[in-house]
């Protein structure tokens, strides 16, 4: 999800939920046993929950609300929306990857195998992969890459060429190429701040080289305002649809608290809710001023 949603006001976003491409299931409230909760690298952690009810209906780009407070506890008060990074329907498990950035995520590292976590999901309107798309481009930065991994796997399973830019600060940031898995079926462009390769101009040059003949049919972006700008620009020049996953503070995750209004103008009186109308939205053509 792209943080700093207010700056998205400069983009015209439309909702994807009426496209009817995906079947969205009713969310479930479960106490999900923790299977694993391990540090990947530096301050990046991966949590695996036994949550068949969530895994069964999950779609790429959806999320779950995880209550970090234990069952009889109230701290932290608000659950955290976490992108469903991967899931295994056969095993009934879901994976989320999180970065320790505050008290809530620090508390999340204390969860041990066997403890049961209040979990609600699957939630939200995810990305829409168009039937007939032959090439898709994914632009992910940092932890935002986690919103794109399941979509990449879906694309590969449907025979779509998947090109994924995995942008991160440095090699101590886990949320890069490793999140996509290493079976080689996804063309991963791993870029870093430390060597300048993550600079949008450098990323653009690399992408133009890869797409010199045929451009992507769809572009999906998450985790960076700069990458969103690049995606919108590439979308305009290639005639590709652009979808973005955005992040917001939320309390309920299912649409009644209205805490996560996306602030995107032009869609009626109340702005769309990130939790149900999103978190994935379509970026309108010619969105850049």
């Amino acid at each position: 999800m792209v943080s700093g949603a207010p700056s998205l006001r400069s983009y015209r976003l439309t909702t994807l939920e009426d496209d009817g491409a995906d079947f969205r299931v009713r969310p479930m409230l479960i106490r999900a046993p923790v299977l694993r909760n391990e540090r990947l690298i530096s301050d990046y952690w991966q949590l695996t929950l036994d949550a068949p009810a969530v895994a069964d209906g999950a779609q790429p780009g959806q999320f779950a609300m995880l209550t970090i407070a234990r069952q009889d506890g109230l701290t932290p008060l608000l659950p955290r929306p976490m992108a469903l990074c991967r899931w295994d329907r056969a095993a009934g498990s879901i994976d989320v990857v999180y970065r320790v950035v505050g008290e809530g995520t620090a508390a999340l590292t204390t969860w041990r195998s066997g403890e049961q976590m209040t979990t609600v999901g699957p939630l939200g309107t995810g990305f829409k992969l168009r039937a007939g798309a032959s090439t898709i481009l994914l632009l992910g930065r940092g932890i935002g890459t986690c919103s794109l991994t399941a979509l990449a796997l879906r694309g590969v399973s449907e025979g779509v060429r998947v090109v994924a830019v995995a942008s991160r600060r440095d090699k101590q940031a886990a949320a890069g190429a490793a999140l996509y898995g290493g079976d080689g079926s996804i063309e991963i462009i791993d870029v870093l701040d430390t060597d300048g390769s993550s600079d949008p101009a450098a990323v653009r040059r690399e992408l133009l080289r890869r797409f010199d003949v045929t451009g992507p049919d769809q572009i999906f972006v998450c985790g960076s305002e700069r990458l969103l700008r690049l995606a919108a620009d590439l979308g305009d020049s290639h005639g590709a649809e652009v979808q973005v996953s955005i992040e917001a503070h939320m309390a309920c995750g299912i649409g009644y608290c209205h805490g996560c209004s996306s602030g995107a103008p032009g869609l009626g009186e109340e702005a769309p809710l990130v939790c149900t109308n999103g978190p994935a939205f379509r970026v309108a053509r010619g969105a850049l001023a």
Partner: protein, 332 residues
């Protein structure tokens, strides 16, 4: 004791199977995907205004220092949208529906109430008086006893269902406001709404919320709410619905013990979506353990009214006092 405790109660013509209901704004029929709504004492809608309105700019809510801070701004589909697309989703559940109404002028409250009158499925109206009064320079209606009495009186005159006035804590004397609501003809009062607060980001050099200030809620405000509910319950003859920081059955029992007839659960539903069900189960278990058979044996057993309660089981009272009293009564 094998007899199942009776958790039911009446607030005017409003009959509740148990004393636990959501706080307005912290509930929607969407929650029915996660929990069995039919187990709740009542359902309470978000505040409805006459016209459609959008909410406030992002960020609308955040967590800071152990509390939730929100300024959602009460987006509303307006009375027409509410009646056609929202209310039917409430009425589909069996508990009585309490409709929260708001207004930016006294006239707006009247118009909303008049449109709700006689609509099937509306069991009561909660009047959210924590709205800025555009006719009084934006001063909260709920902070002016005369405005509160006038609003309540005008709503009562236009409807036949019980009227509950939801009191704001952001006043010098909540007792005075409660008495004004009672004088205006309210069937009950609910207390308290959120406390006004401000969160600040030093790094961004701006408030945490897009609208600036917001309402503080969560377990940290429970002592404030208990004090106010206790004072109000002793000062008015109408029932008081306690709200503010309730997350567990013990919290709810403390409110009942200081004089609340029922309770509302708000922020805790965000933490654990089944909090209300756990509060109901916990109250019942607590009563069973003590051989209590009705809520009346708990209500107002702490505070000035306690000595007047002749019907309190002799064995129950000392244990309630010993286990439920966490904060000293009177002025803190």
């Amino acid at each position: 004791m094998s007899v199942r405790p009776d958790l039911s109660l009446d607030i005017g013509s409003l009959h509740l199977a148990n004393p636990v209901m959501p706080a307005s704004g912290c509930f929607g029929p969407e929650l029915g995907d996660l929990i069995d709504l039919d187990r709740l004492g009542a359902l309470v809608t978000k505040t409805i205004f006459f016209d459609r309105r959008s909410g406030n700019p992002a960020d609308r809510l955040t967590e800071t220092g152990g509390v939730m801070l929100n300024s959602v701004g009460i987006p509303s589909p307006g009375i027409d949208g509410f009646l056609t697309s929202v209310l039917p989703r409430y009425v589909a559940s069996s508990p009585p529906t309490i409709v929260s109404i708001g207004g930016l002028t006294i006239g707006e409250y009247e118009r909303v109430a008049a449109r709700l009158d006689g609509v099937s499925g509306i069991a009561a109206i909660e009047v959210n008086i924590s709205c800025p009064n555009l006719e009084a320079g934006g001063l909260e209606i709920g902070s002016d006893p005369m405005a509160v009495e006038a609003v309540v009186r005008s709503v009562v005159a236009r409807t036949s269902v019980p009227i509950i006035a939801k009191l704001t804590p952001n006043v010098t004397s909540i007792v005075e406001i409660a008495q004004a609501a009672e004088a205006g003809g309210a069937t009950a009062v609910s207390a308290i709404n959120t406390l006004l607060g401000l969160g600040v980001s030093l790094e961004a050099r701006r408030p945490l919320l897009g609208n600036g200030a917001g309402g503080v809620s969560g377990p940290a405000i429970k002592p404030v709410a208990l004090r106010m509910v206790s004072e109000v319950a002793q000062a008015v003859r109408i029932p008081v619905i306690g709200v503010g920081g309730i997350a567990t059955a013990r919290d709810a029992l403390q409110f009942l013990a200081v004089g609340a007839a029922a309770v509302q659960v708000g922020t805790a539903t965000f933490t654990h979506p089944d909090s209300m069900l756990r509060v109901i189960d916990g109250i019942e278990a607590w009563m069973r353990e003590r051989g209590l058979h009705s809520l009346g044996q708990i209500t107002a057993t702490i505070g000035k009214r306690a000595p007047e309660r002749a019907d309190v089981a002799a064995s129950a009272l000392p244990r309630i006092r010993a286990t439920a009293l966490e904060a000293p009564m009177g002025h803190p």
